[in-house]
């Protein structure tokens, strides 16, 4: 279960990464004022990195089997049917 969740999570994270690349591209490419674009870039990237790092650290501590009781639920199902 953990593996499936990891794959889904990484896919979502990749989607966020792609969206962030587009945002950075727009700010650097189309800005008409360098000062404001630099400020916004620093703000965007720094906060995004902080959020992603925090999210990754929380993800590492997660034990989904324990949190959602997947294994015990599966045991119960298999126990009741056989």
């Amino acid at each position: 279960m953990n593996n499936i969740f990891t794959v889904v999570y990484l896919m979502f994270l990749f989607g966020c990464f792609v969206a962030s690349i587009f945002i950075v591209y727009h700010i650097t490419r189309y800005s008409i004022n360098k000062k404001s674009s630099t400020t916004m870039l620093i703000l965007f990237i720094s906060v995004l990195l902080l959020l992603i790092m925090f999210n990754l650290s929380v993800f590492k501590t997660l034990d989904l089997d324990k949190s959602f009781n997947f294994s015990s639920t599966l045991d119960n199902i298999s126990g009741s049917s056989f």
């Binding site: 979502f12 962030s20 004022n33 995004l48 999210n55 997660l62 949190s67």
Partner: protein, 190 residues
Amino acid sequence: MQKFEKFYFSGQHNGEIIIKIIRRHWFNILEQYFIVIGLLFLMLLSLQFLPMFFLGSTEMPVLIFAESFLAILIWIYIFIIWIDFYFDVWIITNERIVNIEQKDLFIRTISELRFDKIQDISIEIFGLIPTILNFGDIYVQTAGNTERFCFRNVPDPQKIKGLIMNMQTMVVKKDEAEIINRISPLLRGQ
């Protein structure tokens, strides 16, 4: 005019001076941020009350993980809205009006209008909030073109209309003076 010395837009001519940069009124972006504010409020509420009534100690990390992931999505969404607002711009220069229209991340149109092509300018302030906050639409009718040039939800439309009309008058007078300068030697020669 010195205010916009450090500004530069793609396609700016040599010697072209930016006179005014107009973006939509701040209420327009605030309107879109209401969803974000609502979501942040819900996140804070859920962090405060869900653990008290529904969640045990094992589910708490899952909630924090979900909330922090939602925070990433909200942060990206905030910037997508900001890009839509910040890069949607009308630039009035001493030569023309440039309309750069940004829709989300992938649609961007640039059009321009020379002052001598302007035939008529009208403004429209529609609704209670636009009337109180003084923002609205400006429509510029051009010669030989059925489509109107539109500035949407811009602050103080009356003042911008006045500025465009002044610029048009100046450009037309300058053109007339240039024509007179050019043809006067020919007339004298005759």
